[in-house]
């Protein structure tokens, strides 16, 4: 069946709307974060972004609404694309990018929704009133908004321009129910790794900041009385990056949760994604066995997936090894993410192999 070009066009338009919604959401989150950071700076730098004024809180809420709207457009775009081409909408790099970002935004929204969902569930199940306990409630992850939306917008921008593939049928080798199993797993894991990568970068920055906090606080108090321009203050190794991100109005870093919390969040997302990635590789091997008569052939795509897998396994080991916890483990997970990006961009476009389904010419 030939593709429904009208529907495909609708899909493209929906994607553009999604990108705009995400971009505006990103600015909203950033504004709220910047305001929260000011409060945090005044309030002694607790880990949580404290609520600023009601106005900034409303900006944050608007950003959430925009993200949800963007997500709806995004989902509809993927669905209409699927209907337009009469097959699963993940057959080339353009479609793959749309799916990965959809997963990334979904994970962010799920993390964001955890608390409200629990609250509703508690009401629904009529659980008794909460104890006043020593353990503290979960933090909101709204601070992540700007940092998740930025790569998502970038990814989608790249997908819509450089990687765009006109709607068309699948190549025969991909025409199997395994594309549903293997590729969905790969997409889900990739989306999750993307979010964990963002959190890990924040962790590394915050960790750096926490280590260099003493000198930094000195500059914060003597801080160059208020010009709006960003300041560069050299404080010796370790703090340069943190300082670079310090604007005139207060430590961006202070508004982020404690490094330990970021580390835990990144770990949690990776423990979600790693088994799925493992499954994706195994499902791919089973598929390869049926399609190409061997389950493993060290094709570049297979090899880079394996390297990525080893990278995350190394991260998990590092996290359990004294002396490798924290910064070094986080670096390993970023390297693993880099391998995933090589697997995705470089292998699909530069290195030729059996997996050349990119649809990019």
């Amino acid at each position: 069946m030939s593709p429904d070009l009208h529907l495909a066009h609708i899909s493209d338009v929906l994607l553009t709307w999604a990108v705009f919604a995400y971009a505006f959401a990103m600015f909203g989150y950033a504004a709220e974060f910047a305001a929260g950071r000011r409060v945090a700076a005044r309030g002694g730098g607790t880990a949580v972004v404290e609520r600023g004024s009601r106005r900034t809180d409303n900006v944050g809420r608007a950003a959430v609404v925009l993200s949800v709207a963007g997500w709806c457009f995004h989902l509809s775009s993927v669905l209409t694309r699927g209907f337009a081409v009469h097959r699963v909408p993940w057959g080339n790099m353009y479609e793959f990018s749309c799916m990965v970002t959809l997963v990334a935004v979904s994970i962010f929204l799920l993390l964001l929704g955890q608390q409200p969902i629990r609250r509703v569930a508690a009401i629904a199940t009529r659980r008794p009133a909460r104890h006043h306990m020593g353990w503290k409630a979960r933090e909101s992850v709204r601070y992540l908004g700007a940092f998740v939306m930025a790569p998502v917008v970038l990814y989608l921008g790249l997908a819509g321009t450089v990687l765009y593939a006109a709607p068309g049928p699948l190549v025969p080798a991909l025409n199997s129910y395994w594309i549903k199993i293997h590729v969905v797993a790969a997409i889900t894991a990739t989306g999750a790794f993307m979010v964990s990568g963002v959190v890990t970068i924040l962790y590394l920055l915050k960790e750096r900041y926490e280590r260099g906090q003493v000198p930094l606080r000195l500059t914060l108090t003597t801080r160059l009385r208020s010009p709006m321009r960003p300041q560069r203050v050299s404080l010796g190794p370790g703090t340069a990056a943190a300082v670079e991100m310090t604007s005139a109005r207060g430590g961006l870093m202070r508004a982020l949760p404690a490094a330990a919390n970021l580390d835990r969040l990144a770990y949690r997302i990776i423990t979600f994604a790693f088994p799925i990635w493992t499954f994706a590789i195994i499902a791919g091997a089973i598929w390869a066995e049926q399609a190409w008569s061997r389950y493993w052939g060290w094709d570049p795509k297979e090899t880079w997936s394996f390297i990525t897998w080893l990278g995350y396994a190394a991260y998990l080991h590092a996290r359990a090894t004294a002396g490798w916890r924290g910064r070094r483990a986080a670096t390993l997970s970023l390297i693993a993410f880099g391998c995933l990006m090589v697997d995705y961009y470089v292998v699909n476009t530069v290195i030729t192999g059996l997996h050349s389904y990119a649809g990019v010419s």
Partner: protein
């Protein structure tokens, strides 16, 4: 070895719930034994595992950047031709066969030795941990990372008893232990599955490797070209290419056979992109068995007796007949031509050993749908045989057919031969050569190449893979956690005579969601003690 016989370990604030083996201090033995022991410990340490994992990842990278023999031998030859000095050196370092290189094997074998060496003690430790009771409650529960306190109307025995009952129902391992002063503690632990999963995962990696090794040692792989109507019986000589493994013996070849009734390829009429390939077979599992039909296509191989038959390629065979001057048929065969491009422009040769006074060779180019080539001449413009044209050149002389030197059936060295004419034929047409011979192009058939692969370790690999996932889920999604509750009898000056209940918990590495769980537990306990209160109408306010 290092563990005590004491059934209960004390859990003070400092203790972590890690399942990693403790670093062993103090080494027995001396001299070389001591050094060997130290090396062994070093090899089986987590740090080494980490290093080897990273090293393995690093070592795999050249295999994706440098052309590999296993993937694209032509590219390797081109590379060698272009780099006459560097190439052989790289070849010497196995850089064109990275994944079969000794240094690559060394890394993963070390990794697996390390793995086994670290698994054995961990299995022992875990087996012991499975038998052990939960550790005693720390003295200061309120100093634990998560803790709470409330007052209950029930006496300590009831609180403790109910707590244990509740915990056990939720699959905690829970004990009630008396303390001095009449107070009772409940010590509970849950999530042993985490370490079990972790061990299963690591053992599964070994299982996977064993499976791969089995295939590598006992399997075989072969390819064979079959023309429509032709057949194949599974024997070593029947293959065009046969690659047995190191410990393979011919008795492993299961005695199946098949004939290819029909081959069908369909293409997108607008651009010639392939849509479907189907090879319709009738196969028998043994010479005496009944024939069954099967349709092999991409993603749909035939599975017979552990061997799998895949469709890996296809092309055209041309029915060519040659008669000599006397009108006797000297050649009448379906001759496979090899495709040169995606529209199946193909080449092939015919070698006729006896033709009166010499040998006759034909070199041919075949175009399933002939059209004008942008470079002049003709080419194929569509992969299906819609307008077939066979372009032939005839050669006479000594083809060397009886020289004893093995020859390719797809090429004919023409340097010492004499050209005796060229022509173009469409199906049904004949070409009369000057010496009286006649070449007739009777028609076109399809051939298909099949790969037969037998991998005895495949099941094992699959089992390993499934266990890897199951183990990982246990290892990463289950949290090992401990829970304690202390019920202290009411102080003498408490007018309500209420029991002071303190509860605390500790989760390993990933504490996420643990607070909710504790909260849920405590609230259920609170509810229970509240229910208790209702059965004693005389007592005071609720303790929540």
């Amino acid at each position: 070895m290092t563990q005590t016989t004491e059934p209960v370990v004390s859990a003070d604030q400092t203790e972590k719930l890690s399942t990693a083996p403790e670093p062993v201090v103090g080494m027995p033995g001396r001299g070389p034994l001591r050094i060997a022991l130290r090396m062994w410990r070093q090899l089986t340490s987590m740090r080494t595992a980490l290093l080897l994992l990273a090293l393995l990842a690093l070592a795999a990278i050249p295999g994706t950047v440098i052309p590999q023999r296993g993937l694209d031998p032509v590219k390797v030859d081109n590379f060698l031709a272009r780099h006459p000095h560097l190439g052989p050196l790289m070849d010497h370092l196995s850089l064109f066969d990275v994944f079969a290189a000794p240094w690559f094997a060394a890394i993963y074998l070390l990794l697996f030795i390390s793995l086994v060496g670290c698994l054995v003690p961990r299995i022992r430790l875990h087996a012991a941990a499975l038998r052990r009771r939960p550790p005693n409650a720390p003295r200061h529960l309120l100093r634990m990372p998560a803790s709470t306190q409330w007052r209950a109307d029930a006496p300590p025995e009831e609180v403790a008893g109910r707590t244990r009952e509740l915990l056990r129902r939720a699959h905690w391992r829970a004990d009630v232990r008396p303390e001095s002063g009449g107070s009772l503690t409940v010590a509970a632990e849950k999530g042993y599955l985490r370490e079990t999963g972790n061990l299963v995962f690591h053992i599964a990696l070994v299982v996977l490797l064993v499976g791969i090794a089995l295939s590598g040692l006992y399997g075989y792989k072969g390819t064979v070209l079959v023309t429509q109507g032709g057949g194949f019986a599974n024997a070593r000589e029947a293959y065009d290419v046969f690659a047995p493994s190191r410990l393979f013996s011919d008795s492993q070849l299961s005695p199946f056979s098949f004939t290819m009734q029909r081959f069908n390829a369909s293409y997108d009429s607008s651009n010639g992109e392939p849509l479907n390939f189907n090879a319709y077979l009738r196969y028998k599992t043994s010479p005496t068995a009944a024939a069954k039909p099967y349709d092999i296509r991409v993603n749909h191989p035939l599975d017979v007796d552990g061997a799998k038959v895949f469709l890996v390629g296809h092309g055209y065979s041309l029915l060519i007949k040659v008669t000599n001057k006397a009108g006797q048929t000297v050649y009448d065969q379906a001759t496979p031509f090899l495709p040169d491009d995606s529209n199946f422009s193909s080449h092939g040769v015919v070698k006729v050993p006896v033709l009166g006074n010499g040998q006759l060779g034909l070199t041919g180019f075949f175009y399933p749908t002939a059209g004008a080539s942008p470079f002049g001449g003709i080419t194929s413009i569509f992969p299906a045989a819609q307008r077939p044209v066979l372009s032939l050149a005839a050669w006479s002389g000594n083809l060397g057919l009886d020289s004893g030197v093995p020859q390719s059936v797809y090429s004919l060295p023409v340097a010492n031969l004499k050209n005796i004419g060229v022509t173009q034929l469409s199906p049904g047409h004949s070409w009369h050569l000057k010496d009286g011979a006649t070449v007739t192009f009777l028609g076109v058939q399809q051939w298909a190449t099949f790969q037969v692969a037998h991998e005895p370790g495949k099941r094992t690999v699959l089992v390993g893979a499934v266990l890897i996932i199951a183990g990982l889920l246990g290892s990463l999604r289950v949290r090992r956690r401990r829970f304690w509750l202390r019920a202290v009898p009411a102080a003498a000056d408490d007018p309500d005579r209420r029991t002071v209940v303190t509860a605390a918990g500790l989760a390993r590495s990933d504490a996420e969601g643990f607070a909710d769980e504790l909260e849920e537990l405590a609230s259920q306990l609170g509810r229970r003690t509240a229910a208790q209160r209702q059965s004693r109408p005389a007592s005071g306010a609720e303790g929540i």
